[in-house]
C-alpha cells in the first residue's frame, strides 16, 4: 500500500482513521470472548455473581485453575483435567508423527516416482479431506472391534492417522511437486534408492511443510471431540471430552471460573504450538507458489 504515492489530503487522513477504527472494533469484537474467559477464570465465584462479565477481578486468584487441573469433577470422578491433558498428548504426539511421516512418504511417491494411476490415486485420497466424520463412526467402531482396538489409545491414534493422511498427503504432494525432479534423477544416478533419496535429499528441505503438517494435525487432533468421545475408553479420554464432562457435571453450584480455567487449559497447547511455529505455517503454505 505504501508504495502508492498520494497526496495526504485531510479527507484521505480522515478515511485512514476510519479504516483503522473499523479494524479496531472488529478486533475487539473477536477478542472479547477470550477476555471474558481469562477474566472469569481469575475471579472468585462471588465476584462473578456480583459483577459484570467485564469487570476486572478485585482479588485475583489461581484457585479456579488449580481446581480445574486437579480437583474438578468430570462426571463421576473428581480428579480434574490434568490426567486427561496428558492423555491428549499421548494420543496427539504419535498420531501427528505417524500421519506426517506417512503423508511425506505418500507425497514423495506420488510426485517423484510417478506410476500409472498416480493422479487418480491422489484424487481419490483427496476425498478423505471431505468425508464428514459422523459418516464413519459406526463402520470405524466395527473395524476397531475386529482389530481388537476398541476403546484403546492405539485405536484412537489409528483413527486420527487414517483421517490425517489425506491432509498431510495433500500438503506434501503439493510441496514436492515444486522440487525439481532432476534432484531425484541425480540421486538415482549417484546410486541412492527410494528411502535413501527421501531421507537424504527431500526430507532435509521439507522443514516448512513439516511444520505446516504438524501444526495442522496437532490442532485437528487436539481439538477433536467426536472421535474422542466415540472411540476412547474411560482411562484414555482426551482433554476435550473431559472438558465437556466437567462443564456438564450438574451436581452442586455452577462454577463458571473453574469452567473457564478448564477451557483455557484445553485450548493452551494449540495456541502455544501456533505462536511458536506460526511464522513457518504461513511460509510453508505459500512455499512453492513464488519461485525462489
Amino acid at each position: 500500500m505504501d508504495n502508492v504515492i498520494r497526496r495526504q489530503t485531510p479527507m484521505a487522513r480522515l478515511l485512514r482513521v476510519l479504516v483503522y477504527a473499523a479494524l479496531g472494533v472488529a478486533a475487539l469484537f473477536y477478542l472479547l470472548p477470550l477476555a471474558v474467559m481469562v477474566l472469569t477464570s481469575f475471579k472468585p465465584l462471588d465476584e462473578i455473581t456480583a459483577g459484570t462479565l467485564l469487570t476486572l477481578p478485585e482479588n485475583p486468584t489461581l484457585a479456579p485453575w488449580v481446581k480445574a487441573w486437579g480437583e474438578a469433577c468430570t462426571g463421576m470422578r473428581c480428579e480434574g483435567m490434568g490426567g486427561y491433558f496428558w492423555n491428549s498428548f499421548a494420543i496427539v504426539i504419535p498420531a501427528v508423527a505417524i500421519s506426517t511421516l506417512l503423508g511425506a512418504l505418500n507425497g514423495y511417491a506420488l510426485t517423484k516416482w510417478r506410476f500409472k494411476g498416480a493422479e487418480l490415486l491422489f484424487a481419490l485420497m483427496l476425498f478423505g479431506c471431505f468425508i464428514p466424520f459422523q459418516v464413519i463412526l459406526l463402520p470405524m467402531a466395527q473395524t476397531l472391534g475386529w482389530l481388537g482396538l476398541s476403546s484403546s489409545r492405539a485405536g484412537l491414534i489409528l483413527v486420527h492417522v487414517i483421517f490425517g493422511v489425506a491432509f498431510t498427503t495433500l500438503f506434501f504432494r503439493n510441496f514436492y511437486v515444486s522440487i525439481p525432479d532432476e534432484l531425484v534423477s541425480a540421486a538415482k544416478l549417484d546410486g541412492a534408492g527410494f528411502f535413501r533419496i527421501f531421507r537424504r535429499i527431500l526430507l532435509p528441505v521439507s522443514t516448512p511443510i513439516i511444520v505446516v503438517s504438524v501444526i495442522w494435525q496437532f490442532t485437528q487432533i487436539w481439538n477433536d471431540f467426536l472421535f474422542g468421545v466415540a472411540f476412547s475408553g474411560h482411562d484414555t479420554q482426551p482433554v476435550t471430552v473431559a472438558l465437556n464432562n466437567l462443564v456438564n457435571t450438574s451436581t452442586g453450584v455452577k462454577e463458571y471460573n473453574v469452567d473457564m480455567a478448564a477451557a483455557m487449559i484445553a485450548a493452551l497447547p494449540t495456541l502455544v504450538v501456533y505462536v511458536l511455529a506460526g511464522k513457518y505455517f504461513v511460509r510453508g503454505l505459500t512455499a512453492g507458489s513464488v519461485k525462489g
Binding site: E182, A186, A187, D190
Partner: protein, 373 residues
Amino acid sequence: MSALEIQHVCKDFGSTQVLKDVSLAIDSGEFLILVGPSGCGKSTLMNAIAGLEPVTSGEIHIGGEEITWRTPAERDIAMVFQSYALYPSMTVRQNIAFGLEMRKVPKAEREAAVERVADLLQISNLLERKPSQLSGGQRQRVAMGRALAREPQIYLFDEPLSNLDAKLRVEMRTEIKKLHQRLGTTIVYVTHDQIEAMTLADCIAVMRDGRILQLGSPDEIYNDPVDIFVAGFMGSPSMNFIAATLEGEAGDYRLRVATPGADDLVLPWPISRETDALADQVGRSLVLGLRPEHFTEEDARLGERAEGTPLAATVSVAEPTGADILLRLPLGEGEITARVDPHCRVTPGERIALRVDMRRAVLFDAASERRLA
C-alpha cells in the same frame, strides 16, 4: 570395442513415438553431441542412456556390456543436469562425495576424490558452502565436479550451459573442452546450440522428430550436410537456400536463378562437384545452398586472378558485427545473407559486386529436401 553403442532404440509415450529406430556407436574418449531443435528426442535419448526412462525396444551397450534394463546406478555413468540438480541441503563437499558414499567408498578415498576434482575445477575454496551460496558458474563447476568424482565410463551432459549468461557460457565451453582433452573421457552431450556442437564435438548427431538425420564429424556436418534441415540448422547465420533450375549436361551444368523484374542469374556448377544424380534433374527446380561465408566482395586488385563466380546485388541491410559485416541482399525470389570483410564500405541501396565460391555450394531436391550434390 565401442564405449557406447545404441542399437535400434525406440521409445513411445503412449501413441507418440519419441525415438524412432535410433542407432549409433562411439569409441572410448570420444565427445558425442546430440543436437536438434526442441522436441527432437535428444533429451529422451539421453535419459534412455542414463536409465531414467526405459526404452520401448532396442538395446544399449556400455563398454561392450548390455545395460538396457539396468538401473541408473548400475550403469557406471554420471550426468550433469541442466538445472545442475545440486542437493540443496548438502555442502559442496557432501554433494561431490554423495555418489561415492552411496557406493560405499571408504571415507579417506572419498576425501581424496573431492580434493582431486576440487583442484581440477578450482573450487577448493567453495567446498564448505551450500549450493544456494554459489553463483551460476560455480554451481555449474560443482555439478561437473560431482560427475567427475566417480570416474565413470561415460559422462552425460544435458544442456549444461543453457542457464549461464553468454560470456560465462563461452568460458565454460572452453573449459569443458580442455577437461575432455586432458582427461580423455567419453562424453555424450545434449544441446540445442549449434555453436556448442561445432566447437566441442568429435562427433555430432543431428536429430529431428526422433531420428538421427546425420552422424558425423563437425566438418562433415557443416560442409557435407545430408539434407536441407541439417544444412540450415548448423551454422549462424544459417545457410542461404535459393530456388534454382538445373540446365545443361554433364561437364556443363548451370543453375538458373529466376529473379523477378531482372535478368536471370546463371551460375555454372563446378565439374569437380558433379554427381551421377544430376543427369535426372535437368530442367527441374532444385534448392541451391550457399553459406554466407561463401560470398566475398569483389577485390579490384586481384583482377584476373580473382576466384569464384561474379555476382552483383543491391544491399538492403548491412549489419556490422565487428569481425565482419553481414549483408542482406535480394537474390532470386528471396533475400540472402553474405558475410564480407569489415573494411568493405557499403551503404544500403548501393549495388555491390561479389564473388561466390560455387565449389563449396550444395544442391538439394526441392521436394524430398535430400542432398543431390
